[in-house]
Symmetry: D2
Subunit: 120 residues, 4 copies
């Protein structure tokens, strides 16, 4: 996987903030708040829908949901940039941790949290 | 920007879930909950830190924060996949909307929410 | 309803923070972060459970969930105190707004958000 | 402290839902999502404000924030009701746990998370 893959997007968002003099507001603390607020707008779309309905959205809702996903992505790239974290690297590292933590033959069909396995 | 850029990661995560028979748990509704839970773990790192402290993390905390960012990214890619949303496309579309909504010369140095601008 | 009803709890939590010199950390901003982090711990208990399973928790899980609810309640009282908001008054006011906004004969059996009704 | 103190509010909210035939939507899972979405609306008010600004809200913002706090409170009472949890009891129990976990003379002026203390 090319680790430079989000670089154009990172630069575009940095320029967007710079042009508006918004770096003064973009502390990691504040960006984490903005990110979770966007995540909640995603949750809101699903809170009164069943699991099945959440997988069968009408076009208008799906379009709105796609833009919420974009908002989360934008803040995620922005906070990573501010902290100097390479998101593609971090994801690769986390996937590798998850592979050790949840061996396929141990957890198949079981979605409990790792902490719950560990209690056994 | 190459819109296929997240494709290897999307495939890797789909295979990870398939190998564990976890698709049955991965409704968009459930994934939105998992995503916001990870976003909250990010917030937790910053809740008692000042804005300035949030930008000056020690190595150990920064490492933990990077893995929280990875968790959010992983669920973001996973839910986008389940909904058939191309995250790079959606981000490009949202940035374009933001450029119209927040003209640089109107909002410079002012971070109020768009809804508040609209009330003026 | 007696509006002074949360007063003993408010005082107890204020004394708890004062004894630890924690008021310096308890800005409304920080407390809102702590509150949402606790709300996410609640969500985590339900993210891989079906709706029905969420209503039929085993004793150990129910006990853990009760303590998460307590954490949310504690931060809710604490932030209300810091802002000088009377939570019982605010709830009474919000219920009255909801009664106008969602007339029973209009919304029966329909859980869409008010904003969605308003678009009709 | 009178543990029956939230009983009138609990009953009022149960009647509100029953009159609208909304119990079918009010699984603990769904209510946890609604609760965190309201918590995020609170966070949104503070995300671009400094800690100090968050403590000095203008009247109009404070009024809006009070209603967000009410929304969180309403869902908190509602989910507790659905799970058969007495919120006042749970809070008393949690405060007692916190008193053991954070002895005043050990943690004075230090807001690190308990997990960080435990690592020492």
């Amino acid at each position: 996987m090319n680790e430079q893959t989000l670089e154009p997007l990172r630069k575009q968002l940095a320029a967007f903030a710079a042009a508006r003099d918004w770096d003064q507001f973009h502390s990691p603390k504040n960006l984490s708040m903005a990110l979770i607020a966007e995540a909640a707008e995603l949750v809101e779309h699903f809170q009164w829908r069943t699991e099945q309905q959440s997988a069968e959205l009408d076009t208008r809702t799906l379009d709105a949901v796609a833009l919420e996903l974009a908002d989360i992505f934008i803040y995620l790239i922005r906070i990573s940039d501010k902290l100097g974290v390479n998101l593609m690297d971090a994801a690769a590292r986390k996937i590798s941790i998850n592979e050790s933590r949840y061996p396929a033959d141990k957890v198949r069909g079981d979605a409990r949290r790792a902490s719950e396995y560990d209690q056994e």
